[in-house]
Symmetry: C2
Amino acid sequence: MQLKNDLLLRAARGEKTERTPVWLMRQAGRILPQYVAVRERVSGFIELATTPELAAEVTIQPVDLLGVDAAIIFSDILVIPEAMGLPYEMVEKRGPHFPRTVRSPEDIDRLKVADAETDLGYVLEAIRLVKRDLGGRVPLIGFAGAPFTIFCYMIEGGGSKTFSKAKKMLYTEPALSHRLLQKITDSTAGYLNAQASAGADLLQVFDSWAGILSPDQYRTFSLPYLRQLCQAVKREAPATPVTVFAKGAFFARAEMGALPCEVIGLDWNVDIAESKTLIGPDKTLQGNLDPCALYASFDQIRQQTRQMLRAFGPHRHIANLGHGVYPDTDPEKVKCFVETVQEYAGWVD
Amino acid sequence: MQLKNDLLLRAARGEKTERTPVWLMRQAGRILPQYVAVRERVSGFIELATTPELAAEVTIQPVDLLGVDAAIIFSDILVIPEAMGLPYEMVEKRGPHFPRTVRSPEDIDRLKVADAETDLGYVLEAIRLVKRDLGGRVPLIGFAGAPFTIFCYMIEGGGSKTFSKAKKMLYTEPALSHRLLQKITDSTAGYLNAQASAGADLLQVFDSWAGILSPDQYRTFSLPYLRQLCQAVKREAPATPVTVFAKGAFFARAEMGALPCEVIGLDWNVDIAESKTLIGPDKTLQGNLDPCALYASFDQIRQQTRQMLRAFGPHRHIANLGHGVYPDTDPEKVKCFVETVQEYAGWVD
């Protein structure tokens, strides 16, 4: 089906667009009362994410309610470890928890390479439902976690300030670490391509814990696997643009510019002009307003959003926050951010 | 009293030294069984930190046991809010907790500017005891939190992944934020100078939460107060070098180079050569081995430590980790790090 609004895809491919597209990481969920209402009908986050009809419903909510230029499938990066044989729970107010973690070579052997159709069919079904129900209004973004970030959770068993258990494994068992990273990568490559086949128009890879590594370690344990994922999509779904968002990986911006993907996401810590120079002209940049800027007044939000737009310039930019929207953000403030981008008329052509 | 080992101070001032000095952030405490033994004699962390004889004892332990080139007074950055009238508790395995936080202009008015002699006399007394008991073996480092980091705790009430309450205040109440930051700065300036008067040979300022700010916000809400602290020490204790360690403030390295201080601390995320260029030749750099590198084998620790030494070069470097040593680190591995620095003979003069 022809897309009525394909700004996101054109911007991703580096085509000129009449205005900058805008969406928000974590737009589907927690900030919307309409999401909370759906959430209350189920036992928890995981039931919601694994019920295609409900996942599809909350995926479309921000398109209706916030007017964003893209939907992103309501899911979780931790579906991959689950599909590989390492299930997790979502503990209210605490985050994800893995009752079992990976400790030994045998634990890695026992994990399987996920088969997207059989192990993650519920996500693919949700993607098909969203595509049907969106009727081409805006593109749909599929996503997965970066292998290094998934590795962190599988070793650590949950969130952490330092992920010192995961990092300890990198230092003490590099060969074993690579073996696990490869298995995660193989699972994720198939999953990303299956999302594209099911209808996802763009794929984003989230390296949420990039920032805990040294530049050397990032080069060794994350970038090669990101590259493999990008290559796998180029091979199987060449028409589908890929975004890599590595939070905290300011030190790897030049290397990011060399990845075979279309878009690089930026967090709010990095200077925009410097990032453009480091990443180079062949990538579209996505980001990067501080999520906390949406706590400010409407006037301040408009002012800061315009300042961001001017710093990125009119082309090869997808407006977004520099991180997922925080749960206590007023949806009206989010709308103000979205509308400011969509109404911006400051470009002198 | 003449110092027998003044490598740290000479390196801080940019003088050539026969070898690179080395110490570790958080060396006094949790990693040493001898510390745990002292800790078990008291009710908790706060009793230990506020009892000068015990604080002095655990301050000296790493000099005896690890052979480091400096002691750092055993204390906490949160003594400043406490001295200003906002007490805190240390909750086992959870970290600091403030029963009351700062919410309103009246809350700020009620806070006092701390008087170091009356409100923080126990730290000054511990410093005097350490100086007496060290007998000039190595220099003693005093420290305080950066005003922005202290502000974070006073608003948020404890640790946080995002410090979104503190950041919300920066966005919604900038004038009020500056008022609180100034009051913290005035308290801290007096405290740093009092530590120098009591005998501290070098002063380090920890901006532990620098990394949550955007470059613009860091310029507005943190750097000016760091500058004030450096200037206050230059005025009152000009012979005492100052180190600024702003974790995650990679984006402000050029501005750090312009602060009126002697040493800039680096975390393990930053490239050493790039940092030298950005910060410039007039500062000594401190850091920056990944704390998780100490989980590796002895051979790997030696190799990585030497690689770090070569990247910094023979002068204007104080070897350290890029963050406080993690609690589950083997003290023998710490000794390996210290000895590798002290025995390094790789310089070609």
